[in-house]
Symmetry: none
Subunit: 411 residues, 2 copies
């Protein structure tokens, strides 16, 4: 079943409020096989609401609105949608009793305008709202199905869960939308796409989306309107195929953080971790310690932002820095080895680079980063060149440092 969302409220268009309802409704409805095929946000104006809801009904036959059900004069959704269904508004005593009871509970009195909240389009169902005063409305007729919910996120969520979802599930089919994400890092979207080859053909009827971000490219597989068991089986098989083609660049599935993967690998091998950071300034330590329970594996780190600390705390020979520069294979290796010693850990990763915007040269442009990794007396380093502004270079460098740890620990 397809459905459109129409979000009603001038404040959402001004941009001071981010609309989180839309995403939440889409995720929630997907579990019942209902697919949101369009989302429209309009101001609290009758003609805009009429136009958007009318077009959605005509196109798709089913619409869910949020907002515009309160007691103020801006709140005109119910009237406008009822008109589209040719349904007059009737005062409903049982809804009014709910409104009165709610006011009694908070020891206040309703005002005259609250009476409008007890009006229900003829032939429609009022969805009881135990979390606010405006009931939701479910109306079906010649134009199709319209479901109206309040815009307040908590009331929307509760009505969706308790009143709307069960009704949609009851009509609905045995088919649902299910997704599975495979996470990759260290490979650009276009190269990844080449590796995938004719994947769309191989995984059909599943679909694949590329979601690039600073931490890497996520690959989302979706199964549309298949029976749940078949959907899960096909997703699993397709994910395995993706993993095979993306190879060593895959670090997890779902919303697994790379830091969690690194910590789990170290824990399994009984190894302690440390970091020596220059251009990332603490971001790698920040990523690892974001994970609750990291303290059993992660000992700590040294942020050697100035060169004095690279020598003073990590024991990088000054002449190495003079000869090769702070951003070099030699210094990255010396930092990683120095961190193992200074922190007393088994494995240490080091990061030294040029985050920009200044500091770049012809041979070492902005975005040049050397990463070092030391384990059991052995050390190696690799150079990476990251695109982007300072913030991105740093975030990508932190992710690459974690990925270097992952690969070392997996080896």
């Amino acid at each position: 079943m397809n459905l459109e969302l129409v979000t009603i409220g001038t404040e959402l268009l001004l941009g001071f409020t981010v609309d989180t309802n839309g995403a939440e409704i889409a995720r929630s409805l997907a579990a019942f096989g209902v697919r949101v095929v369009r989302r429209t946000a309009v101001p609290d104006r009758a003609e805009d609401i009429r136009d958007a809801v009318g077009a959605a009904l005509e196109r798709t036959g089913a619409v869910l609105t949020t907002g515009g059900l309160g007691p103020t004069r801006d709140d005109i959704t119910k009237k406008v949608v009822a008109d589209l269904f040719g349904a007059p508004l009737d005062f409903d005593e049982s809804v009014w009793a709910d409104v009165l009871a709610r006011y009694a509970r908070v020891q206040r009195s309703p005002v005259a305008s609250n009476r409008s909240q007890a009006e229900v389009p003829r032939g429609a169902l009022a969805l009881r709202n135990r979390w606010g005063t405006a009931p939701g409305i479910w109306i079906e007729g010649k134009p199709g199905l319209a479901i109206m919910l309040p815009g307040v996120p908590l009331e929307m969520r509760m009505l969706l869960e308790h009143e709307v979802a069960p009704r949609l599930a009851a009509r609905g089919g045995s088919s649902v939308i299910r997704s599975l994400v495979v996470r990759t890092t260290g490979i650009p979207e276009s190269t990844l796409a080449e590796r995938m080859g004719e994947i769309e053909r191989d995984i059909a009827p599943l679909t694949l989306a590329y979601l690039p971000g600073v931490e890497g490219v996520d690959l989302r597989l979706s199964a549309w309107e298949l029976p749940p068991v078949e959907a899960d089986a096909r997703l699993r098989a397709a994910a395995d195929l993706l993993r095979q083609r993306a190879g060593e660049h895959v670090y997890g599935e779902g919303n697994t953080d790379l830091a969690t993967v690194v910590l789990d690998l170290a824990r399994a091998r009984g190894l302690s971790l440390g970091v020596a950071e220059s251009c990332t300034g603490g971001l790698v330590g920040g990523r690892l310690t974001e994970i609750a329970g990291s303290s059993d594996v992660f000992a700590g780190g040294i942020v050697s932002y100035g060169n004095e600390l690279k020598s003073g705390l990590l024991g990088v020979p000054e002449k190495l820095i003079v000869a090769h520069g702070a951003v070099s294979e030699q210094v990255a290796c010396a930092m990683a080895l120095g961190a193992v010693g200074a922190l007393g850990v088994d494995v240490a990763v080091s990061v030294t680079g040029i985050a920009g915007p200044g500091g770049g040269t012809e041979t070492k442009p902005v975005g040049t980063v050397w990463l070092g990794i030391a384990l059991a007396g052995e050390v190696e380093a690799r150079r990476v060149n990251f695109a982007g502004i300072r913030r991105e270079v740093r975030a990508r460098a932190a992710q690459a440092a974690l990925d270097l740890m992952r690969r070392k620990l997996e080896a």
Copy 2:
């Protein structure tokens, strides 16, 4: 001037990604008197894009799209919109040179599909994208104005700021929506509101919005449709009034980062900075080094996540940890003093706390954080209790550590 937004991408409709671009674009355009009157999200399907963009042009005459400009086969925005304008796509050598240069910088090669990114609708302007490979497109013709931007938030933001906003401003009207933000930290929204008193009356016709976040509460003043000179004068006077009432909690205006304030204060006094972090794991160092040019003031830090490193690297006496616990005034002071010594800096801040979800006790519940600050042989500490989940506690603790530095450096 009115304009509609069309967001393109099946991902956004699935609900796995919250659309933050829409709100950001609306706020940003408002500064130039451009009002977003409708927002539509559609999947990556040619007919949906054509329908939504076409209807927007017909209704409003101006549309801004995000998404669908990448190199994969899902990315069809440019082709579909060009068709609406009757414009064929021409391969543009100068855009291609940009794409090649970008790949060269990161020492990679473009693949065949990247060539489509250098196609520009005839008669349109390619908006140079220095932050990614897909240029934006600005096309005007009989149907009206269409602006196409990439969906990646950073690229969208940069193109909006550097390419779109100046062009819209140049067309612009005489009355605009102008805003000024005063940033506070370390004071809850309700307490701040009490301090403000009858501020709405005092600043009319300007409006005031409270924007709470993990870094503190921003106060946004807005002038609606006033002549620019009057708007600016009123905003300045109102901001001064806010600063007076919020007092020491104000650290800046606009989008000033607290880390920048700290670095500037230290630079002015010729003092070097260091950090000793436990529960924040590197976030304070990360904040300071996010600011370009921080290396002349910020020397580095020690992430002493395990207690061994608190003793080993920072010289915190083990018996202090045993007697008072790692999260205590005594340990916070010893960490800050130890950092001054180990890092050879003038000022050091320390953070030790319980970020959760585990580790809390009756006397030191989750969210308990001790912050220490050492300057010129003197040290002091303060206890703060933060609400929220792990991520929030850590972000708030990092901000509070920076604020403690600010206050010390201002004293």
